[in-house]
Amino acid sequence: MPTATRIKRFTKLEQITHLCLMLAFIIQSATGFARLYITTGWGKKLSYVFGGYDTCLVIHKWVGVLMIVGFVLHTIYMLTRIKWRSPAKSIFGPDSLVPNFQDLKHLGQRILWFFGLGSPPKLDRWSYWEKFDYFAVYWGLPLLAITGLMAMYPLVTSRFLPGWSLNVAVLLHRAEAILAVAYIFIVHFFIGHLRPTSFPMNETMFTGSMDLEEAIEEKPAWVQRLKDEGKLETVLGSPPALWYRVLYFVFGYAIVIFGVYLLINGIIYSRYVALH
């Protein structure tokens, strides 16, 4: 079957959402790190890329506002994806990203499989680590947004909260940002690029579809469910064009290299951040 070997996984809108999030995340990481490390030579150089210490903040704020807009739009989109005739079934069903007890079971099975003590779990559409990936961002974004807005409008904040809440807000913003950067640039990049099944790149998010054979191996319960429901034929698609593959390989690797560059320098120069 040369024309129908791929199984549809993400819609165009979801792919665009991920692309926007990628770009926003990398800009926020770079401008944020430039400011955090401004007392070091590396931080200064990084800030020059974006026009210096002050311009970094302007960019950081505007991209932050765009991310908040994106978050709201994405939430509205996710609400439209719920089948409101049977919300519970839809929210906790196999096509949903909401974690359930099955995920806990899969985690246990997978740990046993790591050590050769059992067969791998029969994963459905979303594995537990993919759900974690999603919700790590989904709870991290509002936290960064709220603390970011507090720091952006300190006088307004001090009208509703005591001024010392700004100390806490800035701390939380920085800590959550470091957590997000560390998670994405280590764990997410490893899963997306370095693990043997994905290497050199997991293309699913850019093509919107994954290889059927790969899906049977990685997510057998999903493929089985689609077969049982008779939907498998409708979700089969064609492979991406070569020029598009080249484009997202270059783009994806540029992001990975820049992310790892930020992370490594962030670790090296963390000793020289003069703040305590």
Binding site: I38, T39, W113, F114, G116, S119, P120, W129, F132, A136, P154, L155, S158, R159, L161, P162, G163, W164, L166, N167, V168, V170, L171, L172, A175, E176, I178, L179, A182, Y183, I186, V187, F190, I191, L194, R195, P196, T197, A274, L275, H276
Partner: protein
């Protein structure tokens, strides 16, 4: 004519009395022509603030203050005599060799916050010239009853008393000092640190094990292509 001139004299007298008796205008009350031409712009203009800072006067030999110790100032953070100095008009009164020291020689921790490190503010810009009053001294511009108007508003227009409760010299967030002086900051820090370390401690070995396991599975595949055993 006589009545007019006497009215003028009375008005001039009232104005003079007002100038003499009423308090100075605070920074929050000054007329602002533009957002950028404020104290901040003026202060940032030279960058040599520390070069002409005022040295303290010598201690007067005949004046002693009850309860204030003379001699070297014990600058351990737990020394009780530090706290005794929190209500003085000149908080550094009686410290030997004070003239030759810089603020950060004793107040090291106070130089490690955003105002000092990032905005490059010098101590004098908020604490004023010599004699530096203790912040709890009644007439100190940094006394919390007027800090927002006399100090914060120099740069942060519209600062309120609530705004001024921002802790400029915040303690290191994870320190035992923060636990007693700023518990919310302390617990926020440790919560985020545990979250970070916990997430990484789980997901890094998890990812590595996935990688290893898949590597071995792939190698074995040609031999046992039809079975998942091993």
């Amino acid at each position: 004519m006589d009545r007019m001139s006497s009215l003028q004299i009375w008005m001039a007298g009232a104005l003079l009395a007002g100038v003499m008796l009423l308090a100075n205008t605070a920074s929050a009350q000054e007329e602002v022509a533009s957002a950028i031409r404020r104290y901040k712009a003026y202060e940032a203009s030279t960058g040599y603030y520390e070069e002409y800072e005022v040295l303290p006067r010598r201690q007067l030999p005949l004046v002693s203050i009850p309860g204030v110790r003379r001699g070297l100032f014990p600058y351990s953070p737990t020394a009780a005599s530090v706290r005794n100095r929190s209500r003085l008009a000149d908080s550094h009164l009686g410290i030997k060799f004070y003239e030759r020291r810089r603020c950060e020689a004793c107040h090291v921790e106070q130089t490690r916050d955003i105002h000092t490190v990032r905005a490059n503010l010098t101590c004098r810009q908020c604490h004023g010239g010599e004699p530096v009053a203790s912040i709890a001294h009644y007439y100190s511009p940094l006394n919390p009853i007027r800090r927002h108007a006399y100090v914060c508003a120099k740069c942060h227009e519209g600062a309120s008393a609530s705004y001024a409760s921002y802790v400029v010299h915040e303690p290191a967030a994870g320190s035992s000092l923060a636990r007693t002086s700023f518990p919310v900051l302390y617990y926020a820090y440790w919560f985020m640190l545990v979250l970070l370390v916990g997430t990484m401690a789980f997901f890094i070995p998890h990812s590595l094990l996935v990688g290893l396991r898949e590597l071995f599975k792939k190698k074995r595949k040609p031999k046992n292509a039809d079975s998942n055993a091993h």
